[in-house]
């Protein structure tokens, strides 16, 4: 029987919420990654369930459509034996933001331990924490253009699984930076781990003062990809053309699409390619790049997502004392398993 590394216990984690990436410290992120590493072993077991969060209730409040993030959170909660409920709100029936506090208040009254929120408005997670304090654990599953901390963390985790060190690596994020919470999340976390972060986008899709976040912005894809170790593609949405931000999708593809040819011509030979999904094949990323298992981390990202969300649910829904107890329990269990 295979054992898995003990669950982390006595780390620095002391948070009830994860609502942004910018405020996470290096030590906290390391602890999340360590926990995710432990949990990723559970995902490859035939029986993917541990009793860690038995009796806890996690509610997914998704005010915006999302399949993979919601499913990922749902599975993460279930693998930890928590009860996961989906509270889907169709954007058509509820006016944005109108009853968010009321809804959360209702869920809290029903004994919910954690809410996972996806919302089109930036800042709603912060607003909920301002309102509820520590009464309920809030996990941000993407808010407006602000942040998507679990995506940033899972991207970082996928990279640490593949690269020995992220420090000094040139990581280029390509696409609609202006409207991307994924880009903001990744910029904060990759900088925290010492990466050399570059951005590439048409100037209409680069937000003002983005370089103040500590990255280098390019409009020229060749400069951005030059010597890159990792290329992250962002989803290019069709409505940007209608909003007049790009003249035509064809023109975007011509200048910014990540193709095998561009990768070979400009990047490091062992370049890795990532995409948060869902992909527009043939737009921001060529199909042959997406499907090239040698360089594409895209399916690894999905697996990492479950591990990262398990780690965050575990860390936010348990106390340090509970965690060190679990650590001992797990160590005993491993010993006994080895003995058998």
């Amino acid at each position: 029987m295979a054992s898995h590394p003990p669950l982390p216990g006595s780390g620095s984690w002391n948070r009830r919420h994860v609502i942004d990436s910018a405020s996470l410290t290096y030590e906290e992120v390391e602890e999340v990654l360590r926990a995710a590493k432990s949990f990723s072993h559970i995902l490859s077991r035939p029986v993917k369930k541990i009793p860690t969060l038995r009796g806890k209730v996690v509610v997914n409040m998704f005010y915006e459509n999302s399949t993979r993030t919601r499913t990922s959170f749902e599975l993460a909660a279930q693998y930890l034996s928590a009860d996961a409920i989906n509270f889907s709100v169709s954007t058509s029936s509820v006016k944005k933001g109108e009853s968010l506090i009321d809804t959360a208040e209702t869920l809290a009254a029903m004994g919910t331990d954690a809410v996972v929120i996806r919302h089109a408005s930036s800042g709603v997670c912060q607003q909920l924490v301002n309102y509820f304090g520590d009464r309920i654990c809030v996990l941000n599953a993407g808010d407006g253009y602000h942040d998507h901390p679990t995506q940033g963390l899972l991207d970082l985790f996928s990279l640490t699984e593949r690269l020995s060190d992220i420090k000094g690596k040139k990581i280029t994020i390509v696409g609609d930076i202006l409207h991307s919470r994924v880009a903001r999340s990744n910029i904060h976390l990759l900088k925290l781990f010492g990466a050399d972060v570059h951005l590439a986008a048409p100037s209409t899709l680069l937000p003002m003062h983005i370089e103040s976040l500590g990255c280098t912005a390019h409009t020229n894809i060749e400069d951005a990809l030059d010597g890159a170790d990792v290329v992250m593609c962002l989803r290019m949405q069709m409505e940007r053309q209608r909003a007049g931000l790009i003249p035509a999708l064809r023109e975007y593809i011509r200048f910014y699409s990540i193709t095998q040819e561009r990768l070979e011509k400009f990047c490091k030979p062992d370049v890795l390619v990532m995409h948060p999904g869902p992909m527009n094949r043939g737009v921001e990323i060529a199909s042959d790049v997406a499907d090239n298992r040698e360089i594409s981390l895209i399916t690894n990202q999905v697996t990492s997502g479950v591990a990262i969300r398990m780690a965050l649910l575990y860390l936010c829904l348990s106390t340090p004392a509970e965690r060190s107890g679990l650590e001992r329990f797990q160590a005993n269990l491993n010993e006994r398993m080895l003995a058998v």
Binding site: K96, E98, S121, Q127
Partner: protein, 441 residues
């Protein structure tokens, strides 16, 4: 009824007066302003300290009282009470009510609603019917019925041709068009200043140029027509530069800014609290500095609050969904004293000027902004050193949406006389009594 204000420091910018003297109010007018008026001449004597200021009742030419249409946000009565608590005795209300103030009956409605409040309330009527930007209102007739200015505030006059006609027409009556400078196509779906913080917070931005491009247009139209333009709530350094230049060229242009632009920046939006959301938005530190300089060098003529009440429920929304606007009547003086008097940026005469006599002059409010024998007795008594904490629960306004909640300000009105009657007197709270005691003894 005769009331004697004894021993205060009388500050009257209209005449440049700044000295300790007594002021005798007889019925609704000022009967005497001299040193050592005999107490026997009055029915009531109010002893003031030399450190307390006796100034003209303050004038705010840009408020929204939501009357008619939204009594849940504010009424003329609660708005007036809020004004009095802030030391204001004259306000100009904006026409974006429901229905819009764009006709004689609506102007008369405002004039009538003002009557019982005791303060002077003047309508700024709409430039175009229904604020639609298409047909000009009856500017001359509305003026004769009591309007003192014209504006589509809340919206710009988008058509340059409409603005040209309005300026040409209003010029006949020498009345200002109040310009809400905003190019809506540049604002898009923006909800805060476009800059570092909008990028950090992931909120859609309103670029400074959305304001300044309209300021530039209206300066050119003022130059072309010779009409009078008053720029409302100027928020950006680019607008300041344009206005400064236009004034240097001698154009007939005036401008106002708000206490919040002078004391807060877009960094305040970091907690996503919609009480920091207004239009134009709180801008960058460099804009704040430029506005402070513009107030000090006279480029900005007037401080106005853009008092814009919204209910707590309306503000309890996601930042991008919440309505624009903050209230300001009860904090305006405190903020200005804290940031301009106590920092020695402005002398008391200059500070009181931009909050009373200058706005009265621009909108030709003859019974406001001046202390003189025979003049309507609209008077504020100000303690510039009184420290107090902004507690929205104490507001006379019906709404609570202030960006200054919890801040400690230094200075406020302690008594406000309107038409000779003391309609506001600060009741010292136990906490304030303790603060005052700690300071004086």
């Amino acid at each position: 009824m005769k009331t004697l204000l004894k021993g205060g420091r009388v500050i009257n910018p209209a005449t440049g007066l700044d000295q300790v003297m007594d002021v005798l109010i007889e019925d609704n007018v000022i009967a005497a302003m001299e040193s050592n008026i005999l107490a026997a001449r009055a029915d009531e004597v109010i002893e003031l300290k030399e450190t307390q200021w006796v100034t003209p009742g303050l004038v705010d030419v840009h408020v929204h009282f939501r009357d008619p249409g939204n009594p849940d946000k504010e009424t003329t009565a609660t708005g007036a009470a809020s004004a009095l608590a802030g030391g204001f005795t004259t306000v100009c209300v904006m026409p974006n009510t429901s229905p819009v103030i764009d006709s004689t009956p609506m102007v008369q409605y405002i004039m009538n609603a003002a009557q019982p409040t005791g303060i002077q309330i003047f309508p700024i009527a709409a430039v175009t019917r229904g604020l639609e930007g298409e047909e000009m209102t009856a500017i001359g007739t509305l003026l004769q019925n009591g309007a003192v200015g014209f504006s589509d505030d809340g919206r710009p006059v988008s058509s340059a041709n409409m603005m040209r006609k309005a300026l040409e027409y209003s010029k006949m009556f020498d009345v200002p068009i109040v310009c809400h400078a905003e190019d809506c196509t540049l604002c898009g779906n923006g909800v805060m200043h476009e800059g570092y913080y909008s990028t950090l917070l992931g909120l859609p931005g309103i670029p400074s140029v959305a304001e300044s491009v309209m300021v530039a247009r209206d300066i050119e139209l003022a130059r072309f027509t010779g009409g009078r333009v008053h720029f409302a709530h100027v928020s950006s350094k680019e607008s300041v530069a344009l206005i400064r230049q236009a004034k240097a060229e001698g154009l007939n242009i005036t401008a106002e800014t708000t206490p919040h632009y002078l004391s807060l920046t877009d960094a305040c939006c970091q907690g996503y609290d919609p009480d920091f959301k207004m239009n134009g938005p709180l801008r960058a530190e460099s804009d704040q500095k430029a506005l402070i300089d513009a107030v000090m060098d006279g480029t900005i003529d007037v401080i106005a609050t853009d008092h814009a009440p919204h209910t707590p429920d309306e503000k309890a929304m996601a930042f991008d969904c919440a309505p624009n606007g903050v209230i300001g009547l009860e904090t305006s003086l405190g903020v200005m004293l804290t940031h301009f008097y106590h920092t020695k940026r402005l002398q008391p005469l200059d500070l009181i000027k931009i909050m009373s006599s200058r706005p009265a002059e621009i909108f030709k409010l003859k019974a406001s902004g001046n202390l003189a024998v025979g003049q309507r007795a609209d008077i504020a008594v100000i303690d510039p050193n009184l420290e107090w904490q902004v507690d929205p629960a104490q507001f006379k306004s019906k709404s609570r949406n202030t960006p200054f909640k919890g801040q400690t300000l230094k200075g406020r009105a302690v008594m406000t006389f309107a038409n000779g009657r003391c309609l506001y007197r600060l009741e010292a709270s136990p906490q304030e009594t303790a603060l005052a005691a700690g300071r004086s003894f």
